[in-house]
């Protein structure tokens, strides 16, 4: 059947058009004009009447008012509950209870494993100080994260990379006002301990290796090897000290003195950082800051470590410092996309150029430059 008003397709039994609302007769055609054969005026069915317009129902108005009230309540909760992220609010108050009840407070966990250097490629998924620093910042930004735990298992690394992470830790403590607890795995030597000392508390296993407070400038003299191979270096330089540290010749006394001054100054930075972080005067620290390593128990005796324990103890301590009741939830620094990209790169890279992995290991083992690193590892 076709509607006489809007010409839309209708079911045959429709009495009104669902598209335009126009009433329809029982048979197709123009409404009211077609009369069945043999039917008289008395048999003409009355035209269907359009339902009268009703006034708006009260219930829909009530629903609208209720919805408006809910929106108002939601906005009020959000404005009060999320105001001053990370700031301490005096007293409990509804907003603090709301935050506590809606999202369980947590402790962020960042793992710093292996030598600490800047990323070689600059890719976001590449291992390095930039990535760790970004993880520290990202976790510290989250409202539900009230404290951080740094899981350190490192022999140290380059001075720049270590100090980059040191700065990130200090910012969390000073700007975000969130406590940071270091937990030592196998070792936190040299640069690893530099980072641990920047934290509010240090937790270590009794057998962990710590210390090696000092600086090293790795240098090599391969002159005799080159001589055997018939290779002689012949640099042209703008100044006599331009090739200082060159492996192709012995170091001159002047160069050695210059490098030693750099080392001493960089060592002073290390000593100062540990002294400030641990609250130990530099004079008291200097005798044990000669590059020696300690185990956890010895470090505890020297007050380089606050507590002997494991990762669970570190999490509980971080929760306690943050005022979290009970065992806090732990939020790790994993990023699925970065992990996948990193795995893809290493997998494809190893397949296409297997020598890349070997070269990378050799590079890490034979780095030349200023380092907070324990070379015993």
């Amino acid at each position: 059947m076709i509607c006489s008003s809007c010409r839309m397709q209708l079911p045959d039994e429709a009495t009104s058009c669902p598209h335009c609302g126009a009433p329809q007769s029982a048979i197709s055609g123009t409404p009211g004009r077609d009369i069945p054969v043999g039917a008289g005026p008395a048999d003409t069915p009355p035209p269907p009447q359009e339902p009268p317009r009703r006034t708006p129902r009260v219930w829909i108005r009530a629903l609208a008012v209720l919805y408006g009230a809910t929106v108002f309540l939601a906005v009020a909760v959000l404005l009060r509950g999320t105001d001053g992220a990370g700031s301490q609010r005096s007293g409990g108050g509804l907003s603090k209870r709301l935050i506590l009840s809606a999202r369980r407070e947590a402790v962020g966990w960042i793992s710093i494993h292996g030598p600490i250097y800047h990323s070689a490629s600059g890719n976001v998924w590449d291992r390095g100080a930039e990535r760790w620093g970004r993880k520290i910042r990202e976790l510290a930004e989250k409202q539900e994260i009230k404290a951080l735990v740094l899981d350190i298992d490192s022999p140290g690394g380059s001075v720049g990379a270590v100090q980059e992470l040191y700065g990130a830790i200090q910012r969390v403590r000073q700007e975000k006002k969130k406590p940071v607890v270091a937990v030592v795995g196998d070792m936190a030597a040299s640069g690893g301990y530099y980072l641990a000392s920047a934290c509010d508390k240090v937790v270590a296993h009794p057998g962990s290796l710590l210390g090696s407070i000092g600086v090293i400038f790795n240098s090599m003299n391969v002159q005799q090897l080159f001589a055997k191979l018939g290779i002689r270096a012949d640099p042209i330089k703008s100044g006599k000290l331009k090739d200082i540290g060159s492996p192709t010749r012995p170091m001159t006394p002047e160069e050695r003195l210059l490098l030693q001054q750099i080392i001493d100054d960089t060592y002073g930075q290390f000593l100062r950082a540990v002294s400030q972080g641990r609250g130990i005067p530099e004079e008291a620290l200097r005798p044990i800051a000669d590059g020696r390593i300690f185990n956890g128990r010895q470090a505890f005796d020297y007050k380089l470590v606050d507590q002997l324990g494991d990762s669970q103890d570190a999490v509980r301590l971080a929760g306690k410092l943050a005022g979290i009741v009970g065992t806090p939830r732990v939020v790790r620094d994993s990023d699925s996309l970065e992990t996948v990209l990193g795995l893809l790169e290493s997998s494809i890279g190893q397949r296409l150029r297997p020598e890349t992995a070997i070269l990378r290991e050799l590079r890490d083992a034979t780095r030349v430059g200023l380092e907070y690193r324990w070379l015993g590892f």
Binding site: P56, L78, S101
Partner: protein
């Protein structure tokens, strides 16, 4: 002026009330002449409800720009979906108006207003969080059902055909995604096998 505003409000409320109580009547009213402002208002309400609900559950700060974006996104998605489904409906023999479909879809999205009370409850009582997510799932299916019902009433389709039309864009999107992932996997495997 007040009288005309009151009658406009009453007209909108009538339409929404009809959509709940008498869908065929609502479809007929919308079919007489699309009221774009009604459709936009409904999508705006849906966007506001969704944004506030998610913010409450995550306790993320209120951001006016993000809120505006959420509402604009809802409206844009509504325009896209109404246009696409109108096209598909016309190809399958239906006759109707895309503007009316937009208005009806907008009213279908009003169900998301029900997510807000659940989110407020979850903000006060964390144990209610799973109930919130169940509510969201139910509302999502309800919105789809209301869209299918709107297509049935506007174009005169059977319910099954209306469901097929409503689900078609999502199924097509899923198939495209699976095809893209398959191509990516093939490409990666080929790259890894280059060394052989």
């Amino acid at each position: 002026m007040d009288g005309s505003m009151t009658s406009v409000r009453e007209g909108i409320l009538d339409l929404v009330a009809d959509f709940i109580e008498n869908p065929a009547r609502a479809a007929a009213t919308a079919g007489r002449g699309p009221r774009w402002c009604v459709g936009l208002a409904c999508f705006g309400v849906a966007g506001l409800s969704l944004y506030l609900s998610q913010s409450l559950v995550r306790l993320s700060p209120l951001n006016p720009a993000s809120l505006l974006l959420a509402c604009v996104w809802q409206a844009a998605a509504g325009v896209f979906m109404a246009s696409l489904l109108h096209l598909l409906a016309e190809w399958s023999g239906g006759r109707g108006r895309v503007g009316s479909v937009f208005v009806l879809f907008g009213m279908s999205q009003l169900v998301w207003a029900l997510a807000l009370p659940m989110a407020v409850l979850a903000a006060f009582w964390r144990a209610a969080l799973p109930a919130y997510w169940i509510c969201v799932t139910v509302l999502a299916f309800s919105a789809l059902y209301l869209r299918a019902r709107s297509l049935r009433d506007h174009y005169g389709f059977a319910m099954g055909k209306a469901w097929l039309l409503v689900l078609f864009p999502y199924l097509a999107g899923l198939l495209l995604l699976m095809a893209a992932l398959a191509l990516l996997a093939i490409g990666l495997v080929s790259a890894v096998r280059l060394s052989f």
